[in-house]
Amino acid sequence: MSSDDTAVTARPRGIFRRETKGFSATPVTVRVERGRVVTFARLLGETDPVCSDVAAARAQGHPDVVAPPSFPMVVEMLAHEERSRQGAPNPTEVIGCDFRRLLHGEQHHTYEGLVYAGDEVSVETTVVDFYDKRGGLLEFVILESTIHHDDRGVLVRARRTLLHRLAR
């Protein structure tokens, strides 16, 4: 990766640590708690009872309430907390996020299986790439995470793009 802050005209200095491309965070296992799923679903106004009512979920053949489609990010945050507890470095720390300048650019989830309350899932996250736009005024990072269940395999693949707004 180039971090050519000497080249061109007053190119803003990037903040992300480009040398961390390829970094993989320590895989951790987290538990999906029912209360968290139900509270999360209700806050988003989710009306499908499979996400908030155990009886309704079981009546449709699910073992417990179903995590809504945006819940994988919660799983990633739980993984972040778990790594912090273990003293393991987290991707957003390793790449040098500055929360004063940070924005969420894109999010792409691919669903291969449902996440249920009560699941224990393992989470792996890799720093895939960095790139610049607008002459370096915006710098981007792509993080890829996989949420995996021991018996049911990969449940979700999540690709997150974060960016820094940089000043000249």
Binding site: R36, F40, L44, V50, V66, P68, P69, M77, R100, Q107
Partner: protein, 141 residues
């Protein structure tokens, strides 16, 4: 059973106005504690006029437009690009339009174009979803 034709619009969903309380609760339950969404002092020190909503809050509400038709189990992918900031007090509207049908991975799927707009018409999110359509109702509801 006939499929809803490409161009069919899924029922829109309106959410908000986005309150500071909602952002605090979302930060707590989601685990995303980035202070730029909940702490106006932090936001101002960062040179911003105010806190603003988590992109994933819109992503989560938007997903309902699709899953009301497909069910959570029928959703295959969801992609979002956060094109502008969602401010405190914004009222967001989430819309989906059936774009095309695909035969993929041994099943019939629909691709749905998605957009979220604020009350002034400003797009805040654009994206797309892919859902499995076998066995779904003719008309999105």
């Amino acid at each position: 059973m006939s499929e809803p034709a490409p161009g069919t619009v899924l029922p829109a969903l309106t959410f908000g106005p986005i309150s500071r309380t909602l952002l605090a609760l979302y930060a707590g339950v989601s685990g995303d504690h980035d202070p730029v969404h909940i702490d106006i002092d932090f936001a101002r020190e960062a040179g911003l006029p105010d806190v603003f909503a988590h992109g994933m809050l819109s992503f989560g509400v938007l997903s309902r437009v699709v899953t009301r038709w497909s069910g959570v189990a029928g959703l295959r992918s969801l992609r979002a690009r956060f094109v502008s900031i969602t401010h405190v007090h914004d009222l967001i509207t989430c819309r989906g339009t059936v774009a095309e049908y695909l035969d993929e991975a041994g099943e019939r799927r629909a691709r749905i174009d998605l957009v979220v707009t604020a009350q002034d018409g400003r797009p805040t999110l654009t994206g797309e979803a892919v859902v499995a359509v076998d066995g779904l109702r003719d008309r999105p509801a």
